[in-house]
Amino acid sequence: MSDVTRADICTIACAEAWRGDGEVMASPFGSVPALGARLAKSTFAPDLVLTDGEAALVHGIPTLATRPDELVRESYVPYKTIFAIVWSGRRHIMMMASQVDQFGNQNIAAIGDHAKPKAQLVGVRGAPGNSVNHATSYWVPDHNPRSFVASVDVVCGVGNDRAAAAGPGASRFHDLRRVVSNLGVFDFATPDGSMRIASVHPGVTLDEVAAATGFALAGIDGDVPVTREPTEAEAALLAELDPKSLREREVSA
């Protein structure tokens, strides 16, 4: 399919993160993960649970263009309940990362010294708790050596190395799944829990990925699969679920 865009590929890669998850809360951050979760729920992960972003779980599958007053809300889930769900483990979040490192530590808090940052970002938010309580994936729409770094400035989401070092309190339910970027898909299926390239997006070379990554990626010298394209049915769903093509605005190709 010649009209498949990089954003479409990224959306499929995000959707695949939730495959096999069953009845868990899918919490996507960013338009591409939001669309991916909806696509997954529409197809191979029908039991996923979505929220209205305020204080309710929603019934059915809203599109990215559905207005809040059009949502069908099925149960009341204020923030106190959200934390109960986080700590129960019945959630798979896909957060964004301003920085992500070789062991999957994530930073959304600040660039530079925490006491006086060069750039203040959103803050640790719920990342420390999310990452040690339930499945966690990341979406990085601009893969470059400043976003894929050897070591993050402020650890918000906890990576494999630090979870292991903190012991079973942190590692028991730590479940780092995948990182999707505009260049490829990355997981941590290595003996030491370091990042590995799982697939490269169509049209991207492995040299590009290596040059855009601030550390040595496992598997980059091997046989790397190409990230799959949407099926025809999925392509139709993408158009239906994202009628204003918000996904295209988020991805630098």
Partner: protein, 295 residues
């Protein structure tokens, strides 16, 4: 039955330099902004703010009232970052104790339950722990016996300390004179815990009604603030402006945008403060009305 009515100004009188002040709401949602605005005019300094941060934090920090903030974020929701907060942080102007959102909840809960800490997995391995060495962990005491879970036998857990507050301030849609409060919007957030964690407890409201009549204004289960949680109540219509306070008022997105745009530049920020924040609350509300009519 005591009549707890007072004024926002009288509440501000009780907030002294060096105190720890907890502010209810979440981000740019249902913040006690009238009280925050009143504090901008006071000579109080060296406050420690405990907040799910929004423009309350940005404004008080910018005005030099604050030496320390305990939070997990400072956001305007529809705008990711409060520009005043960004500027203060990048200037190193304020000390930040950064905690996970859920740990923050546990810290308030611990204070409200009068226990020194509550354990969690959250925080372990993250910058919450490494940036604040004063935080401690606790060993799981259940290593054997009938309650032991072998999977957690050797676990160290994060011990979130009680976030004890000198003063807490929250804003609700409707309060009664005896100090009960009703939140009619989608989420009462953690306001009950802010109040429970504080020595002195203030509730502002768009409307204050006679004691015992809250149920005339909405479903009783929305009256989540009972009067054992409050000391003083003050009526201040539209007192959460410009943060979201449905159904009384949605977030004033246009005005929030104007606030955020103005705050990015010293000159436009000075003009904003002169126009909107130099007078009292009624001057603020009418300046906003005038601004709106010009748009």
């Amino acid at each position: 039955m005591a009549d707890k009515q007072t004024t926002v100004s009288a509440m501000a009188d009780e907030i002294e330099s060096g105190m720890t002040l907890g502010i209810g709401g979440w981000g740019s949602r249902r913040k006690p902004m009238a009280l925050v605005r009143e504090l901008l005019h006071r000579d109080v300094t060296d406050l420690t703010l405990v907040s799910y941060g929004g423009p309350d934090v940005g404004l008080l920090v910018d005005a030099g009232k604050v030496s320390k903030v305990i939070c997990g974020f400072v956001t305007l929701d529809s705008i990711a970052l409060d520009p005043l907060w960004r500027a203060a942080r990048q200037a190193g102007a304020v000390e930040l104790t950064e905690v996970d959102e859920g740990l923050f909840y546990l810290g308030l809960q611990a204070a409200a339950w009068r226990v020194p800490f509550l354990p969690a997995r959250a925080g372990l391995g993250s910058a919450v722990q490494s940036e604040t060495p004063a935080f401690r962990t606790v060993a799981n005491p259940y290593v054997d016996g009938p309650f032991a879970d072998p999977e957690d036998a050797g676990a160290e857990l994060f011990a979130m300390p009680a976030l004890r507050l000198d003063v807490a301030a929250v804003h609700v849609n409707v309060a009664d004179t005896a100090g009960s409060g009703m939140v009619l919007g989608p989420d009462a957030h953690f306001d009950d815990l802010f109040l429970g964690a504080a020595a002195r407890r203030f509730m502002t409201a768009d409307q204050v009604v006679p004691a015992g009549t809250l149920a005339d204004h909405g479903p009783l289960e929305r009256a989540t603030i009972h009067r054992l949680l409050t000391d003083k109540v003050a009526e201040t219509p539209n007192g959460a402006h410009f943060t979201a306070n449905p159904p009384s008022a949605p977030r004033d997105e246009a005005f929030q945008k104007h606030y955020a745009a103005s705050a990015k530049d010293p000159e436009t920020w000075a003009a904003f403060k002169e126009r909107f924040l130099s007078g009292d609350e009624s001057a603020y509300q009418s300046a906003v009305e005038t601004w709106r009519s010009e748009q």
